[in-house]
């Protein structure tokens, strides 16, 4: 049961008993599939490299398959069940009109190698969303090939490299703040650059002096999330961008937190040159249990020739695929996660300019409101006004009660909410990173605050209970060390045990 604020009052939202793996339902000779009889004359075809036997897939009826998968669904939490304040992930409500668009057969049944003459609608979708995304970010052109945020980062870094090479330069380092997402340093080093890290200052923002001393002729660029991973707007951004531009470096915007500034401020106006957006965060496309997402990359006019290709271009009355003049090449097998892009366009058109700005306003309002409702057990280490999310510390609570950030997060599950992000960013001890998003009502935000505060009270009175949370989920905490030490990655490996 849940009350009107979405707070679980009795039975948990997620339940269900242990479910055997599908191979356990398999019975020799059982099958779900059926096909029409072969209607061409049976040819005598003997193929080299033929299989000796068909692969050992489970043999199950459709009825058993359906029940199995539905029982497993019951063991999974989701945005569609309740609030999901997972910081940095923007787990907002995913409008169902966008599902409708993604399943539209005029798009979902298109083969990617179809000639442009028969896919003008799909190409128009890309041009239309490109225009909106560029207006929102203050950029000039975009690629929709990158299928995820990390892929967008890599694409942006390759564009950075190509830009410098076009000027006969070969700088070797990219600067990132110490509060950056882990993908930033991983992408930087995989793109062949050295990571140069700059510290945060006591405001929780990039230390401008430290940045100035990190900048030299060997700097190819600077990657920044703004608002940063502490949920704070980097107030010196224009000065920072100037420092980088002075050595002809490029400034890269990690769009993880774009939700907070939609229609209010633009990366292009801040001095950024390359911007990736996560359509699966900001533009409400569902996360799908880990993917698919989409990480389009938008750039200023002078970087457009380096974009991955092909990209759609209007030539006369028709749209066709063209390779940008100095393209870095292809980064996806086809045109990126097109149906995710179509969902995002549907969302943008439904909301319009006003609605997109309202997203930013209400995401910040909800976060600021929730932050203000938390009890003193949760310290806010950096007091600047938060944007769409905030980072609280459970360090004092841990010292007083032994209850850690992990325990608080797991205890929240028993209240019918998803856990917040924990232990990130690394610059905050016992970090709890909370992002309510704009789609939660004030009542839900208040219920979330009540849950946090009750957990803190329980930490003082019955800490062991909190440390053993969750109590009402289908399972308790897992032995992750065992999973890594004695890997069981398939049911074949399970059978060998």
């Amino acid at each position: 049961m849940v009350d009107a604020a979405g707070k679980a009052t009795s039975i948990p939202l997620v339940g269900g008993g242990e479910e055997p793996t599908l191979d356990r339902f398999s019975v020799e000779g059982r099958r779900a599939s059926g096909f029409p009889r072969l209607d061409v004359p049976l040819g005598d075809i003997s193929l080299p490299e033929s299989a000796a036997a068909p692969p050992a897939l489970p043999q199950v009826s459709e009825r058993d398959l359906v029940a199995h998968v539905n029982r497993l669904a019951h063991r999974n939490f989701a945005v569609d069940l309740g609030a999901y304040p997972l910081g940095s992930c923007t787990m907002k409500y995913n409008p169902k009109i966008c599902d409708w668009a993604a399943e539209h057969p005029a798009f979902s049944n298109l083969h990617p190698s179809s000639p442009p003459g028969i896919t003008q609608g799909a190409l128009e979708v890309i041009l239309e969303i490109e225009a909106i995304l560029c207006e929102l970010t203050g950029m000039s052109r975009a690629t929709f090939q990158p299928p995820a945020g990390a892929a967008g980062e890599m694409t942006g870094l390759l564009i950075m490299r190509a830009y410098h090479e076009s000027k006969g330069r070969d700088p070797g380092a990219v600067i990132i703040p110490d509060s950056a997402h882990g993908t930033n340093p991983a992408s930087v080093s995989l793109a062949g650059y050295q990571v140069r890290q700059v510290p945060s200052d006591d405001r929780g923002m990039v230390d401008l002096d430290a940045l100035a001393s990190a900048v030299d002729e060997d700097v190819a660029g600077f990657m920044l999330t703004n608002p940063n991973t502490l949920g704070l707007f980097e107030e010196d951004i224009v000065a920072m961008a100037d420092l980088i531009h002075e050595v002809d470096g490029l400034v890269y915007y990690d769009g993880a937190n774009l939700n907070a500034i939609l229609g209010v401020a633009r990366p292009g106006d801040m001095g950024f040159d390359i911007v990736h957006s996560n359509l699966h965060k900001t533009f409400a496309t569902p996360h799908g249990g880990g993917g698919p997402g989409a990480g389009p990359v938008a750039v200023t006019e002078h970087l457009a020739p380096f974009l991955p290709g092909p990209i759609p271009e209007r030539v006369g009355d028709a749209i066709t695929w063209l390779q940008p003049e100095r393209s870095i090449g292809r980064v996806h097998g086809n045109h990126g996660n097109f149906l995710v892009v179509l969902r995002a366009l549907t969302y943008m058109r439904a909301l319009g300019g006003e609605g997109l700005r309202r997203v930013a306003e209400r995401s910040v309002l909800n976060a600021r409101y929730l932050e203000s409702l938390l009890s003193d057990d949760y310290e806010i280490p950096y007091p600047a006004p938060c944007m769409h999310e905030f980072v609280a510390s459970a360090a004092a609570l841990k010292r007083a009660t032994g209850v850690r950030a992990m325990d608080v997060a797991k205890a929240l599950i028993d209240y019918g909410f998803h856990a917040p992000t924990m232990y990130f960013p690394l610059v905050v001890e016992e970090a709890l990173m909370v992002e309510p998003t704009e789609t939660e009502s004030p009542e839900t935000v208040e219920a979330l605050a009540d849950a946090f505060n009750e957990i803190a009270q329980s930490a003082h009175t019955e800490p062991q209970e909190v440390q053993a949370a969750p109590h009402r989920a289908p399972i308790t905490r897992t032995d992750d060390a065992l999973a890594a030490r004695q890997p069981v990655l398939t049911w074949h490996m399970a059978a060998e045990e």
Binding site: V79, I118, A350
Partner: protein, 445 residues
């Protein structure tokens, strides 16, 4: 439309609580210069009905409903409704990456089952929970091999999907990887090891991009001789009828997984299948689900080998990938379970029979020949016609057929080349209709 629930009363009450007067006060600390100088030029909001009309209108600008004979990794197979019904459950669609295992047993177990089925299909013991798509999985395979062997060269067959080779080329420069192409002769790869750097891996495709069935053992022998890893790009839907890469002794297999459970989707979202041998288990890129127990001893699933990943390893990570194509992998699992071994075999068998029937029909047309005469093929094959294949595709579209993929852009040696794929969905009437239409198109010049 507005998907935020706040009434003006709600907003006023919350602002008052924060000691603010107006919503814009939330942003008062932002410097003036970062705000747009003029109002943004964005479309007006639309109601759901208006959005639907707009999307419908865009959809009408596509010529949909063509009978598809294009393949190249993305195929028009029969997709049973059960896949959509189950995959669209909101618990799968609207959950995040399953970090919190207590709330994610459904997704985690389905991905564990996906990994198990991919292991069966590839004959390799360890599969990740999917990557972005087939071609970009090829890049991850090459990266793995380069890191594992500490050598910078890779040998790649020209039979590997051109988009796979293009993606590898995009990244090879930044990472200092030297790519050595190996030619196709008569449609099959000739591994010519003289005078080139020792490779970290050799990469082949089975069947290759031209549809031709390659010699696994010959490629494996070259890899062994060079002390390199053997990597195979495979066609997912022929895994039911062809020998597995694991059986052929390959170290890594990857595939475009779209044919399992996913519509063609203009090429995305789809999924990359990726499996490795036991010695490479801890080097596999992407998300991996493992079985463990909870504190009460119950079976539970969790993301494992997390120590490899970017959020922990940061700049020392071997891959920056932090997602998979979970929902597409779940769709793939459900479709595979629906097919079962008999169904997968039947799809492969019918596709091969129908492809060979069509090829024989087309070979009888005036001016049409097989691009690689005599070479064995499964369900896809290349023909040569006297016409520009782009023209052929456009003219065939007028007659209701997506005729195939022109080869000339990627293989200039096949100027009139057209790659034709056949699935179990095509009926004999459609195959005959295709042959008749092609005859007309070629007769018209």
């Amino acid at each position: 439309m507005d998907f935020t629930p706040h009434t003006s009363g709600d907003t006023q009450r919350m602002l008052a609580h924060l000691g603010l007067a107006e919503i814009s006060d939330l942003f008062a600390h932002l410097p003036d210069e970062v705000r747009p100088a003029a109002p943004l030029d964005l479309p007006e909001a639309l109601s759901e009905m208006e959005v639907m009309s707009h999307i419908d209108a865009l959809g009408k600008r596509n010529r949909s409903g063509l009978l598809t004979f294009a393949g190249g990794g993305i195929y028009d197979h029969y997709l049973p409704p059960v896949v959509r019904t189950l995959t669209m459950r909101p618990e799968f669609v609207t959950s995040y990456t399953p970090y919190q295992s207590e709330l994610s047993q459904g997704v985690l177990q389905l991905l564990f089952e996906y990994q198990s089925m991919v292991a069966s299909l590839t004959g390799l013991p360890v599969s990740n929970s999917s990557l972005y798509d087939g071609p970009s999985s090829g890049l991850e395979a090459v990266n793995l091999a380069v890191a594992h062997k500490k050598r910078s060269a890779v040998w790649i067959s020209r039979g590997v999907h051109p988009h796979t080779r293009q993606i590898i080329a995009t990244f090879a420069h930044a990472r200092g990887i030297e790519v050595v192409d190996h030619p196709l002769v008569g449609g099959r790869t000739v591994w010519a090891p003289e005078g080139v750097s020792q490779p970290a891996a050799i990469v082949m495709s089975q069947p290759n991009y031209l549809g031709v069935i390659e010699d696994y053992d010959a490629a494996r022998a070259v890899a062994t001789e060079q002390g390199a890893l053997a990597i195979a790009e495979v066609d997912a839907m022929t895994l039911g009828i062809l020998r597995t890469p694991g059986d052929a002794g390959f170290d890594i297999a990857f595939a475009e997984g779209q044919p399992y459970g996913n519509p063609m989707s203009f090429g995305g979202p789809v999924l990359g299948m990726f499996a490795v041998s036991k010695p490479l288990m801890r080097k596999i890129p992407g998300r991996l689900v493992g079985r463990t127990t909870d504190t009460e001893g119950r079976t539970a699933y969790t993301l494992t080998f997390r120590a490899r990943e970017q959020d922990i390893r940061r700049e020392k990570a071997s891959s920056n990938i932090c997602t998979n194509q979970s929902l597409n992998a779940i769709a793939a699992s459900i479709h595979l379970a629906w097919l079962g071994p008999a169904g997968l075999n039947e799809v492969g068998h019918q596709s091969v029979q129908k492809a060979h029937y069509l090829a024989k029909r087309l070979e009888q047309l005036r001016g049409v020949k097989m691009a690689t005469p005599g070479a064995p093929y499964a369900r896809e094959f290349a023909i040569l016609t006297p016409a520009d294949p782009h023209h052929v595709v456009d003219q065939m579209a007028e007659r209701g057929y997506l005729a195939g993929i022109p080869l000339s852009d990627d293989y200039p040696e096949f100027a009139g080349g057209l790659l034709v794929a056949v699935t179990e969905k095509r009926t004999v009437d459609e195959l005959d209709g295709y042959a008749t239409a092609l005859e007309e198109v070629l007769a018209d010049g």
